[in-house]
Each structure stands twice: as C-alpha cells, then as structure tokens.
Amino acid sequence: MSRLAILGLAARVRRQEILRGVDLEVGSGEVHALMGPNGSGKSTLAHVLAGRPGYEVTAGSVTVDGVDLLELPTWRRAQAGLLLTHQYPVEVPGVRLVDLLEAALAARELPAGALDRLGERVAAEAERLGMPAELLARGVNVEFSGGEQKRAETLQLAVLAPAFAVLDEIDSGLDVDALRTVGARIGALVAETGLGVLAITHYARLLSVLRPDRVHVLLAGRVVRSGGPELADEVERIGYERLAAELGVELAVPPPPPERDPFADPGF
C-alpha cells in the first residue's frame, strides 16, 4: 500500500504563478480524476510532478511513501514510482518502444531476468491494446496517430508498472473504441497491480470507462471542490464557468504576458 501526497503545491512557469496550492492524496488501487478547464493548471501539475525543466516549484511538497519527489531529477521520480503519460508524446526517431523500455528497466535495480523476453511482453501488450505490430518496429511515436500514441503511452505504463500514474489527458485524440480499450487496460492495472491513478482530464467521458473513486475540480491553480463520481456528472451538467461563479473563484489563471523580445526596438 503506497501513498502519493501532494501538499500545498505552488509552481511558476516563466515567472507566472500557475499552481497556487494544490492538495491531493492518492492511495494504491485508487482512481482520482482531476478535472478542469483550459488554463486551470492541469498540465502544469502533470509536468511539475514529473520534474520538467522550466517549471519552478515555489511551495509545497510531493511525496511517495514519504520520499520527497521534488528533490529528485525527472528520471529518479519515475524510478520512485510516479510515471507520467504525456498528453503530447514526442517522436523519438530510431528509438523503438522496446529500446525505450529496455533502457528504463535496465536503469532500475531489478532482479536478474527482469528483462527476459521483453520483446514478447511488449508484443503481447501491444496486441492487448490493439496496436498494430508494425508500430513496434518504428521509432516511438513516429507518425503515430493520436490514438496510437495513447495506446503506446498505456503500453509503457503496463510494462513499467509504477506505483502511481499521472495520466495527462490520455483521452484526448482517442475515438470511442480506443478510449474503451485504454480505459479498460488501465482499469485492469488498478485492479490487478494496485496502480494508483491521477487522471487529468477535460471531459467526463474518460470517467465512463475508468470509474473514479474521487473527483477533484481544479480552477485557477487550486483544487476548489472534491467529491465522489457524481461530481464529474455535475461538472458536465453545469460547466466550469457556472461552477466558478457559484464558488466565487476565478476560472483560469490569466495567460502569461508575452516574453519580452530582447532584440525588440527598445523604444528610445
């Protein structure tokens, strides 16, 4: 039984404060949905948790079973048990999924034989996720469709088997069938391996295939409401704008001012 604890997390991107004190706790085998409109800070939270360069934490803590993740570089956070599935997975030409997974597993202290038959395991997982086998011969994400990208993200999650997954809009770009496949696979990981999930999403539709235990609403960098699955239905019904109005809070963090062009005419 593990515990992911996010306490009072505040963060800036390009000197603009985006997260303003986020509190969330996820236990093993739990599915938490984090919903919010564009600009509420959802993806920022995902990247702050993964330790993306350029994201500056100004307050708060993130721990997995007491281990302070914010002190660790990105790769150590993944090893400590927190894995991010990317909203926009980048193409890495010439590096196949199996190469990536082999490197990721080899970097961990795993028992001997942990890499045995990795190719077969990856192929079996691809089949389960409905990924054409020819995608495994390509560089990861290279010319993958949106649905193929998210299936590939799910495949990596299944093989790397972390304690916690942060799903950054894994439902975006998915058609109904792909959504069902991906949701079912993640649901199985939760049930079978005790994976804890923080599913960041814009819409409630993911939650029809991946039933959440708890739903949180993020507005303007804060969790403004938490509740059971019924909260997702309420959000879907009334919308973020009305919810913000009812709670008397801002809807979204204002967009950052444009970066000053150092080569611009100084005007004097």
């Binding site: 993964a50 330790g51 993306r52 360069p53 570089p73 990105t74 790769w75 150590r76 993944a78 090893q79 894995l83 991010l84 990317h86 997975p89 980048v90 193409e91 890495v92 030409p93 010439g94 590096v95 190469d99 990536l100 997974l101 490197a103 990721a104 970097a107 961990r108 560089g139 990596q156 790397l160």
Partner: protein, 457 residues
Amino acid sequence: MNDGGDGEQARALGGPDWLVARREAAAGRLAEIAWPTPAEEIWRYSRIDELDVGRYRPFTAAELGAPGRDDAPGGGVLAAEAGPRAGLVVVRDGRVVHTELRPDLSAAGALTCDVATCADHRHAERWFGTLADASPDPFTVLHDAWCPGGAFIHVPAGVVVTEPIVVLHWCDGDGRASFPHTLVVLEDGAGATVVERFASPKVDHLADVVVECVVGEGAHLRYLSVQEHGPATWSIALQRAHLGPYARLSSSAVALGGAYARLRTEARLDGPGAESDLLAVYFGDGDQMLDFRTLQDHAAPRTRSDLLFKGAVEDHAASVYSGLVRLRPGAQRAEAGQTNRNLVLTEGAHAESIPNLEIEANDVRCSHASAVGPVDEDQRYYLESRGIPPAEAERLVVLGFFEDVFARLPVPALVGPLRRAVHEKVGHLHRSGSRPPGGARAAAGPAPGATGGGGRG
C-alpha cells in the same frame, strides 16, 4: 615528398608501364603545385593550414615489398565482422598484400587483384585514374606520384555478386604517408557489394586515398566505406563514381576516426536514368575534424540522386559538410535531394553545414535541407520521464538519430558492430562535463528541423 623527386621512385614502385608513366607524369607536376589554404572555398573551414605535407615520408619500394607478395591471409577480425563474403583484398600502406575470390565468381570472370600485378590489365589500364583526373586536386596529384598500385575489383557484364567483397586497408608508420587506391569496375548489368575499411594505429600518418567506381549500364553497385583511423592520422580521400545509363549506386560512408579526415564523395550521373544514393554517418570527438565535400553531378536526363549525411560532434570536435548538387544543361527531368543534419552535443564542439545548388536545366526537381543543433530537449525529457538516466537518454536519442542511415547500409552484418562503435563514442559524452546551451548552436545552417528551399527550378 612533395618536391616531385627524380622519377626514381616511379620506377622502383613497380607495376605495368602505364602505371609507372602515370607516376612519372604526376611527379613532374608536383613541383609546380600550389598547396591549398583555407582561403580557397573548397578548403574553407578545413584544417589544411595545419598540414605540412613535407613532414611525411612515403614508403620505399623495399619497405612496401614487391607487388604480388601475398603475406597477409585472412583479414582478421575486420574481415570476419562483415559476415559471409565473396572476396577479400588486404592492403597494407597502399600495397595489396592479399587477394581472394570465390572460385565460382572467378570462373564467371570476376576478378579481385592488385592493379600493379593483375593479369587482366585491359580494364585496369582503361579506367585507373580517369575518375580522379576528372576531379583533381593537389592530393590526387600527390597520390598519383606515389601510388604503388591498389585494389582492383572487376565484375564482368551480367555477373551479379551477392555477398560483399571486402577490402581492408591498414595504414601504419609514424611520420609516414601512404597512398591507398581502389578501382571498382562493374560492367553492364553487373552487380556487387564492396565494403572498404580504413584503419590505422595511433600514429601521425597521412593517408592520401583515391577510390574510383565505374558503374556500367544497368549495373548496381552497393558500396560502404568505414573509416576508423587512429586519433593522430590524417586522411584525405576522394571517392568518385561515374554512372552509365540506368546504373545505380548505393554508396555509404561511416567516418569515426582520424585527427583530420576529409572525404570528397562525388557521383557523376553520365547516363540517362542513372540513380545515386549517398549516405553517411559520422561522429567526431576529442579534437578531431571530419570534413565532407559532396558532389551530385547530373549530366544526363531523368537522372535521380539523393543524399543523406548525418553527423554528431562532441568535446572539441568539428565537422564540415559542404555539398553541391549540380544539374547540367542536359539533365532535364532530373531529381535531386540533399539533406545534412548535425547534432552538436557539447559546448566546445562545432558543425558547419553548407548545402549548395547549381541548376542549369529548367525542368528539374530539387530539394535540400540542413540542420545544426543540440539534442532535442523534449525528446530527452520524454525518455527521462520513463526513468531513463540523462546520459542514457542522450545516448538513445543520438543512436536513434543515426538509425535511418544504419538501416539503409548495404551490409547488415556490419550494422551491429558499427552501431556499437558509435555507442561507445557517445558513451564518452559526459567526460568533458560541458553541456551545450539550451538554444540551437546554428552555425551556417538554419535551426534544427528547418528545411530549406525546394520546388521546381
């Protein structure tokens, strides 16, 4: 060495009369040669001003041994790595010391031998030096004055050699110069795969190399050269191919070694419908400089050429890519593509990329692209977010960057060893402790990923 001599060495190095005469003629021209400087466009960015040609002593005829002396059977590890082979030529300091060819291929009329000794002189005499003469520079003249012979591979019309013919060049001797020469002649409809490996130990050596490939009508030559010279060796090489009608050249180069290694890769498409694909992978580290000058020379209609050169530099290494696509007036309906991409892995390293087009025909298709930049931050982050340590993430990205070229190399058995050789170089990545700045280190080329001019000219 560069004073022209008195013709004595021209005779002493042996071989047929026409070869001696060629040496004598070149020796006579050496005295008047103006040695190049970086002020000349074709030597721009090079380290030619650091080369004192007179410092290197060529091997005497006695040191090289008489032509035809076969004293290096096998070819060792380098030959074994290439997998099953159809033939083998071992060349030491420019002197062919061993040749072999599968008996069934010999029976079919194919030949591997020393230019200086082979019984069938007709094709050697007809072609030797003619391609270099079409693109001379001071180093081809120097080469001609001292070249003791060289590997000759001849495949007669209609004969297809499926397994590779391996040519191994070993260059040794501190303060010495060697002049390896390879001549490949594929007659009409012939096919062959030729793999050359150039290597030397850690010696201050000058290798002045000429490789000539004649590809007859409808013939297909797959060619791979692997340059793994020692870190103090200077290599200055010309690889030139002439293609007849509907001939096909798939040429690739892997360049990893040398203090300064210059390679001119040239393909002249003389016959209509001829096709040429030029590939290269290069990786510079330490203080080395890898210098590539390419020419895709279209002289006939409906010819097609493509070029993909990919390189990486780290530490204080430098690379130069300067390429020209020339579409002559007769090259109507020709198609040409030219792509050069470079990764600059550390702050002290440097890459130049200069693609050029010279279009004299009005109905052609041309495209070119060029990029110089660091490893993509998003790719690095993506891999690190999976739990892959930064050095390993970078290694994966760099190896992946080269993978499309590796996948197209003509000798699959060699891809594994070459991939490992590159992998080892990237393994030294963080020894200098310097990282490139966040932004692109675009030198002459545009930013990473940028693609330049295309369309119909």
